[in-house]
């Protein structure tokens, strides 16, 4: 079980910033299966101090999980 799960549509929305290596504010589901907003750096390569994440595919036809992303949380964002 991976430590964090993120939504595919959020990754798509923030694709440009992620590709530039910029941190993004994103919702993640943690090991407790609780959602929280975090500022994080994401990459397809392993990140030092980071974790592998699963992707929640939330299009209308169903969901899949895959693990080709890594994330390092920089801080939690209070709503």
């Amino acid at each position: 079980m991976v430590k964090y799960i993120v939504r595919s549509n959020e990754l798509e929305e923030k694709e440009e910033l992620i590709e530039e290596g910029e941190p993004v504010v994103i919702e993640v589901m943690d090991e407790n299966m609780m959602w929280k907003k975090v500022k994080a750096r994401l990459s397809k390569e392993p990140l030092e101090g980071g974790h592998e994440v699963s992707i929640l595919m939330d299009d209308a036809s169903g969901i899949q999980e895959k693990t080709s992303w890594y994330m390092k949380i920089l801080e939690e964002v209070n709503e």
Binding site: M1, R7, M29, N32, M33, M34, W35, K36, L56, M57, D58, D59, A60, S61, G62, I63, Q64, E65
Partner: protein
């Protein structure tokens, strides 16, 4: 009987297992119960898998426990566990159960308001009321969170005394917020959308984990302005005891295991799901209303029941059979249709309705189908309806299939009604159809058509019809001698 008395009864009957080994709320408990459903579903189709009480949950205090599939029963008799809960013969035939339910639901009993109750053994207010302090299970790999699946959602109509109960799954989003899967067109959802949010108001809501009669009444679909608490009293034959909530004017079940008091926030939506849906597939997210938690009250050792939606024969499958059926039956009889039994295809109750009826005039089955699909419950969930003769048990799948095979003309007896379904989760809908919520309904006329066997043939073949009394008396004696079992 409260949930604990119901569990005792199941235990006496050998239909409750207790597991003291620690299990994880994340998938492990759900996987064990799913496996039990699958294996017992085959080996014991009448009784089904035992309910499982997981008494040690990883990461949670002793006494905070999970109860898997309390209402599952066997796929052939999905009403069985409710029969047990109401002190009936567990093997009661469907038509007798239906008659009992109809009778009880037409004899409502007002609730009793009492001071306190077991649900007040622990009271947590405001920031102390943390949803994740309780072992809500994570049910399917790929779900968007942890869920309550066997609950009672209570809301109050803002300008009348109507307190509406319903069953909606609840996704625990974060410590103090949960998401309610309010589908427009259903009573509770529409009270929120039309009576609160449209007027710029938040809506108070209480989410209770309680006993079988409350789950049953919440699933029943009466007309608007009928209080389901009165129906639960009718089912029990005694008033439901309710007690004052901490933060709103909607009373809560005094002997509930757990109650979340919250307010549904106007103009706030969060992605609900993905979730392993009752139609047997995991679906993506929907933007749905969000409730902010204000208080949690519970017994000191709360039991949280759950069903793994989408796998059979689980605790969700009995609800249409046991509780939509009497609602439909009552509605049809009130409108003068000579229906003898409303029911559902027991293999998959959420998609296929079956109704048995007398056929008083040619063309009558079309009237039945029109009336059936005009009810609030059926079009929401059901895409196919099979109309059978009055003597057929709608839950006897073998007979229903035989009737379909023998009596449905492939052209004349298969009909479609163009209609937009409220629930478009069935896997055969395209993403576009789901988005637009359009589709169709199909009904099969499996009733006997009027024909004179002597003139028109053919004659139905069965033992009773095709052999004379003389032959039958001879072979009955032979059969007694040679064909007896054992």
């Amino acid at each position: 009987m409260d949930l604990r008395e119901f569990m005792e009864k199941l235990k006496e009957l050998g239909e409750l297992k207790e597991i003291d080994k620690e299990v994880h709320w994340r998938l492990e408990a759900a996987a064990i119960s799913t496996l039990a459903l699958r294996s017992y579903g085959v080996s014991d189709p009448d009784r089904g898998a035992p309910a499982i009480h997981f008494r040690k949950i990883k990461g949670y205090p002793d006494g905070y426990t999970l109860l898997a599939e309390p209402y599952a029963g066997g796929w052939k008799k999905p009403w069985r566990r409710f029969a047990i809960a109401f002190g009936l013969d567990p093997n009661i035939p469907f038509r007798e159960f239906l008659g009992w339910a109809l009778n009880r639901l037409q004899s409502p009993v007002k609730p009793l308001i009492v001071a306190g109750g077991e649900v007040k053994e622990e009271i947590r207010m405001g920031e102390e009321a943390n949803l994740f302090d309780y072992p809500w299970p994570y049910l399917h790999q790929g779900d968007g969170g942890r869920y309550a699946t066997l609950d009672i959602i209570a809301v109050k109509h803002p300008t009348t005394d109507w307190i509406n109960w319903s069953n909606y799954r609840v996704q625990m989003y974060d410590s103090h917020r949960c998401i309610l899967n309010f589908t427009p067109g259903q009573q509770t959802a529409d009270i929120f959308y039309r009576e609160y949010e449209a007027k710029g108001l938040n809506m108070p809501v209480n989410i209770s984990i309680a006993e079988p009669s409350l789950n049953a009444a919440a699933a029943f679909a009466p007309p608007p302005f009928v209080n389901e608490a009165d129906l639960a009293g009718g089912l029990r034959g005694a008033p439901v005891e309710l007690t004052k909530a901490e933060t709103n004017e909607i009373p809560v079940p005094a002997d509930a295991e757990h109650v979340i008091e919250a307010e549904v926030l106007k103009d706030v939506r969060l992605p609900e799901g993905p979730f392993g849906e009752f139609i047997g597939y995991i679906h993506g997210t929907h933007m749905r209303p969000v409730a902010r938690v204000l208080a949690i009250t519970h017994r000191s050792d709360p039991i949280i029941p759950y069903t793994v939606e989408g796998v059979k024969p689980n605790s969700s499958q009995p609800f249409p059979v046991a509780w939509f059926s009497p609602a439909l039956m009552a509605g049809m009889l009130m409108r003068g249709y000579p229906v003898t039994a409303a029911g559902f295809h027991p293999v998959f109750t959420w998609s296929n309705a079956v109704v048995a009826t007398k056929v008083p005039y040619p063309g009558y089955p079309r009237d039945v189908a029109d009336a059936y699909f005009a009810f609030p419950v059926v079009p929401g969930h059901i895409d196919t309806l099979t109309i059978v003769d009055e003597d057929v048990d709608p839950t006897d799948i073998e007979t229903v299939l035989e009737e379909l095979a023998l009596k449905v003309h492939p052209k004349r007896d298969v009909h479609r009604l163009p209609m937009g379904p409220r629930v478009t989760l069935n896997v055969y809908y395209t993403p576009e159809e789901r988005k637009r919520r359009v589709g169709t309904k199909t009904w099969f006329d499996a009733t006997s058509k009027r024909w004179d066997e002597k003139e028109m043939g053919p004659r139905r073949l069965n033992y009773e019809k095709i052999y004379s009394e003389e032959i039958k008396s001879k072979v009955d004696a032979l059969a007694d001698e040679y064909l007896k079992e054992g």
